[in-house]
Every structure is written in C-alpha cells, then in structure tokens.
Symmetry: C2
Subunit: 192 residues, 2 copies
DNA sequence: TACCGCATGTAAACGGTTACATGATTAC
DNA sequence: GTAATCATGTAACCGTTTACATGCGGTA
C-alpha cells in the first residue's frame, strides 16, 4: 500500500460532497497539491472505473457536440455505506501524514464528533511517535553518526509541533461557542 | 517513484559506510524505522542483486557449516561514483521528507559542505512550500470547507517549524568552533 | 501557427509489499 | 517444545507513474 488508503476511498469521499467528472476531481486535487500529491489520470480514471464496477458510484454521461462526452460520477447508497465504514474504521495504525490529511479533508462533511475523534486518533499516534523518537535519541552516544542525530532531531521537532497543533485545535473545536475573540492560530487564518 | 530515490541508492550509501549483509542492512534500517519505513526482504534482496548486476557492489560469500552462507556486500569504485553523483545532483525538486532524510543520514559521511548544501537545499524547498501554503490560505473565504482549512493550517504549522529547525541547525553547523555553551536544541540531545 | 486547457482513456514499466519456502540456533 | 532470531531468497499481486493516443476550442 502506497499510502494505506488508496485514492479510491478519497475519490469516493469527494464524490460524496458533490458529483464530479474525472477531470473535475483532478482539478480539485491539483488545488490541494500542497497537501497531498494528486494522482495522475493514469490512476484516476481506472479508479473511477473500479468504483463504477463495484456499484459504489454511478455515472451520468453527458454527450457534447463533437467532443468527448462529460462523465459525471455520483456516489450511490452502497458507496455511502462503504465510505462511512472506511471513515469510522480505527484508522490504520502507522503515521502516514497523507492518509491523515485525506481523512481530515473529508471529515468535516461527516459528523463533528467524527472530526474530533479523527484528530484525537492522530494525537495518540503522534504522541507515541514522539515518545519513540525521544527514547531513540536518549540511547545515542557521541559515536552516533551526525546525520542520524540530525535526522532524529528534525523529525522530533516536527512531531512536537504536530502535537501542539492538535492540542490547540482540539481545544478550539471542543468548546463550540464563543466565536468572539478567537484563539490566535498559528497562521491566523483559521477561524472556526 | 514511491519516494523519488528508491531504496537502491540508499542501500548503496549504507554500504559506503561499511560492508554489510542484506540482513545487517535490514537490521539497521529497522532501527531507523521511526524516520523512514524500512523495506521488506522482498525488495531488499532484489535490490542488492540489482546493484550487484550493475557492478555497483561486490559480494563476498562466507560459507558457514550447514547454514546459508553470509553474503557481505561492499561498494565498488563505480558504485562510489554513482553514489557521489546521486548525492550531488540538485535534489529532485518536490518536498518528500523521506528522500530528504535518507540523504541527510548519508550526508555526514560525505563532505561537511555537502551536508550544509543539502540542508540549504531543503530550506529553499520548505520556504517555497510555506509560501505556497500561505498564499493558498489567503485565498480562502468563509465558504471554504473546514477540513480543508484545518489541513492547510496543519501543514503550514509543520512547514514553519521545519524552517526554524533548518535555520537553527544551519547556524550551529556553519560556525564550526565553540563546542562550549551549546545552543539549546529542541530536543536538547543534539550536540555538534 | 503553435501552444494551452479541456476531456477521455490505455499499456508498459516500476517499486514495493505480502505471503511463501527453507532451515539452523538460541532463549524461555 | 515452541517461539524468536538469524539468514537467504522467490512469486504473485497492487497501486501508481510515465508515456502514448485522440481531438476540440480558445488565445497569444
């Protein structure tokens, strides 16, 4: 598994928001290319065909004069069920950032509690990761390779900031009211 | 490309440090599993065979009584050249953390200037990434999906801490002397 | 006229995992 | 005795990328 989740699930989630053509999906994913690398057509179209085959989506073919017809895909009842199951399953352990982001992007379309659960799940995993990194660095002696030490330190720094972001965000999202005086977010752009 | 670099290059770099068997490599990589996921035997052994085939490594077969023989792989002259070329090439643009970490781990076995160049290269890429993320978040209006906003904010927070880590580390490594009074590293474990 | 965006798709290659296959040695 | 570690490898499978194939419409 390249990212434990495969784009198929993610595409399904996007179609749950609104029906789209393959090209639309590609365009949207491209706009998120700073978060997750968008799949090529070579995997996107086959993925849609597979979803269609499995009855998780339907397609409405809109023929156009002298052009290839547009194919608008919509999620089906069964597709919705599969998606819900996927979103609710305990999140493949392991700490792939991409898999987390995919679910995060979709999560707000589901329940608020689901979103919180997802963030808490990530918190647990990052905390475990951080702990392991700390233990690994403690074992190091002066003989340890410089590159290795730097690499561990780097990843540890990232894990630490991830944790504090998660804590901050969980705080904000947990106490829903008071849109007044927002807590200063790291980028000052997220207002819940 | 799964990670733009393929384990083959990385293995080659590890063999440049010291000759090892496939199993040795696996053991070492496992100890770094918190940084990069270590390959399975199913890709490790074929990778070694491929390197051997290409003349980038040699193997010394050490037969042992009634056991499978150990096979100690060593890097060759040509292998060293290929490795050097790989280390010096401008680093596949794109911002794969794994690819960066692999090179970082190997970099200290090369020149000190090479290490610095590698960190600076990363700095450039992360800075560009951060800028793009900021621009993306600025475009967002209230209509923007909550999950998307959170995802961007999350990644932005990570990019920001990466940048400050890189700056801090470049500072420390650039002025080589004065091992006295170390700058407080984030984990307090990295003393250069 | 030449290129870019729209819009769909296929085929070959690649890089990797999982599961399988074998078998000795050591530690509980 | 049974499980884990040492030690090597192969074969089937999976998901993805790259390159190929086609063709219209707008624009620089």
């Amino acid at each position: 598994m390249a990212s434990a989740v495969s784009i198929r699930c993610f595409i399904l989630g996007l179609l749950a928001r609104q029906p789209m053509s393959g090209y639309d999906i590609k365009r949207f994913l491209k706009s998120l290319s700073w978060l997750i690398d968008s799949p090529s057509f070579g995997s996107l179209y086959p993925a849609l065909h597979a979803l269609l085959e499995g009855g998780l989506v339907t397609v409405e073919v809109i023929p156009r004069h002298d052009k290839p017809p547009r194919k608008i895909y919509s999620i089906t009842e069964t597709g919705g069920q599969v998606l819900r199951e996927w979103m609710e399953q305990p999140v493949s352990s392991g700490i792939s950032l991409k898999a987390f982001l995919m679910r995060l992007i979709l999560a707000s379309n589901f329940s608020h509690v689901g979103l919180l659960a997802h963030l808490r799940q990530r918190r647990v995993e990052v905390a475990a990761h951080q702990l392991a990194l700390q233990q690994a660095t403690e074992v190091m002696d002066e003989g340890t390779d410089l590159g290795e030490r730097l690499a561990f330190d780097y990843v540890l720094a990232v894990a630490t900031v991830e944790l504090s972001w998660l804590d901050r965000t969980l705080d904000r999202l947990s106490q829903p009211p008071s849109p007044v005086e927002a807590t200063q977010g790291n980028s000052a752009t997220v207002t819940v």
